[in-house]
């Protein structure tokens, strides 16, 4: 495809207008887009919109009692954020296990979510943080935004509910309640530079040994990053003991639907799912 126009807007409004009609490719860090276009998995549209100059899409802060992260915020920004280290360490942990230093420096948070990989490492902690994404488009006169729960955002490998002309401007999630615990695990043996064979996040509250408000998210075991609702239900309100953990292991094993690929077999992904849910629950118990 010949590129007919290239634009580097510096506001969301300008970008949204450029994206109107949908025949445009959004360019940010390039860490997913470049290999996809080079290999032919994806083609450039006639219009390129480089959103890297939109400063209002960067930054990490608190807004209306919620944590708000601009879509262009890099994984490194997340890793280095004092606010997130205090408020959402699970997201920082996941950032630490994300690719390599160079890729963390370039990758935007929104880019990782928009790529909608079943193994996307930032999807998992954000799912357990009950995040929403903000999608903006131009309605002809002004910016129109909608918020979509991340849980409902992904629809398939590389697919989401975003429609042509939309831009993911921010990610938000509630500030943590007391006794909130969250943790993230990712398969190795490399610390970070791996496409996860399995990744898993878990958040919950633990009061007097009873686990509640449970959220479990699992990467690379289903066509989308998975919110493991049945596993959550199996845990909700239970005393966190070995019987509960065993039930969670069994439920999670039944809930995932992994595939065989070059990285691992379905058997191993199921096996790791059991190992990780047990580890995360043991971690919760110990904390």
């Amino acid at each position: 495809m010949n590129i007919e126009s290239y634009n580097a807007p510096d506001s969301i409004a300008e970008a949204a207008q450029l994206l109107q009609g949908g025949n445009a490719t959004v360019v940010a860090g390039g860490t997913d887009l470049t290999p996809q276009t080079e290999s032919g998995v994806r083609q450039f549209a006639a219009t390129l919109v480089n959103i890297q100059r939109i400063d209002e899409m960067r930054g990490i802060g608190v807004m209306n009692g919620r944590i708000r992260i601009g879509g262009l915020t890099t994984v490194t920004d997340i890793l280095e954020s004092k606010l997130l280290a205090d408020e959402a360490p699970v997201l920082v942990d996941a950032a630490d296990r994300f690719a390599s230093s160079q890729i963390r420096n370039a990758s935007s948070l929104a880019g990782n979510l928009c790529n909608a990989s079943p193994a996307g490492d930032m999807c998992i902690p954000l799912l357990v943080l009950d995040a929403e994404v903000e999608l903006a488009c131009w309605d002809g006169e002004s910016i129109s935004t909608r918020k979509v729960s991340l849980e409902r955002f992904f629809t398939g490998p590389g697919k989401s509910v975003m429609v042509a002309g939309e831009l993911m401007t921010a990610i938000e999630f509630p500030r943590c309640a007391n006794r909130f615990v969250a943790a993230f695990l990712k398969s190795g043996p490399r610390p970070a530079l791996e496409i996860s064979t399995v990744s898993m996040g878990l958040s919950c509250s633990l009061t007097d040994g009873v686990i509640s408000n449970v959220r479990v998210a699992i990467g690379a075991v289903a066509p989308t990053p998975l919110r493991a609702k049945r596993t959550e239900a199996a845990l909700e309100g239970k005393v966190l003991n070995e019987a509960t953990i065993q039930l969670a292991v069994e439920t999670a094993g039944e809930e995932v639907s992994p595939i065989d690929d070059v990285r691992a077999s379905a058997w191993y992904r199921k096996h790791l799912t059991g190992v990780y849910i047990r580890r995360l629950l043991n971690h919760v118990n110990g904390s």
């Binding site: 007919e4 470049t34 290999p35 276009t37 390599s100 230093s101 160079q102 530079l193």
Partner: protein, 167 residues
């Protein structure tokens, strides 16, 4: 003929203008337009780090970043590290510690090592494990990494002893 975009940026401290196709990568621009061949195209997917450059004081894989996105920014490549008076401290450390065999990955490795040490400046000294983690995105098939970590650790030690930025 596809379109080209004019960009203006600082390249190794020099105000620079280029006209680049909008889908050209930064690495292709450096190699083809500026003959800066220190950074290598070894995978083209951000998996090996051989093309690592500094942009606005952060390292990136130049094979993934679009050249148009250099507009208005400051870039340093391996060619910008040494001065007329000799090698930069990190370069000299790589030479002295025998980190360099075929050397193909080394421009990228050295840029990442320099970034790692500078990022950490003023904080608790990097351990060998920290250094290895910081270089996880740079593949080397010759050295086995031990001498690379030796070199970076020596720079860290020197910096700690002198209390100055050495890299």
């Amino acid at each position: 003929m596809s379109m080209e975009v004019e960009i203006n940026f600082s390249l190794n401290g020099i105000a620079t203008q280029a006209h680049v196709p909008p889908t050209m990568t930064t690495l292709a621009m450096l190699r083809e337009k500026f003959d800066l061949t220190g950074g290598k195209l070894a995978c083209g997917e951000g998996e090996c780090g051989a093309c690592t450059v500094l942009i606005d004081d952060r390292t990136i894989n130049a094979c993934l970043m679009f050249a148009v996105d250099c507009d208005g920014r400051e870039m340093q490549t391996i060619e910008g590290l040494a001065s007329a008076s000799g090698l930069a401290v990190m370069q000299q450390a790589f030479v002295d510690h025998g980190a360099i065999q075929c050397g193909y990955c080394m421009p990228g490795m050295i840029m990442q090592a320099k970034y790692l040490v500078e990022q950490n400046s003023g904080q608790q000294a990097l351990t060998r494990d920290d250094i290895a983690r910081g270089l996880e995105g740079n593949v080397c098939r010759c050295s086995g990494y031990t001498k690379v970590v030796d070199a970076v650790a020596a720079v860290v030690l020197e910096e700690n002893q002198t209390g100055e930025r050495a890299s």
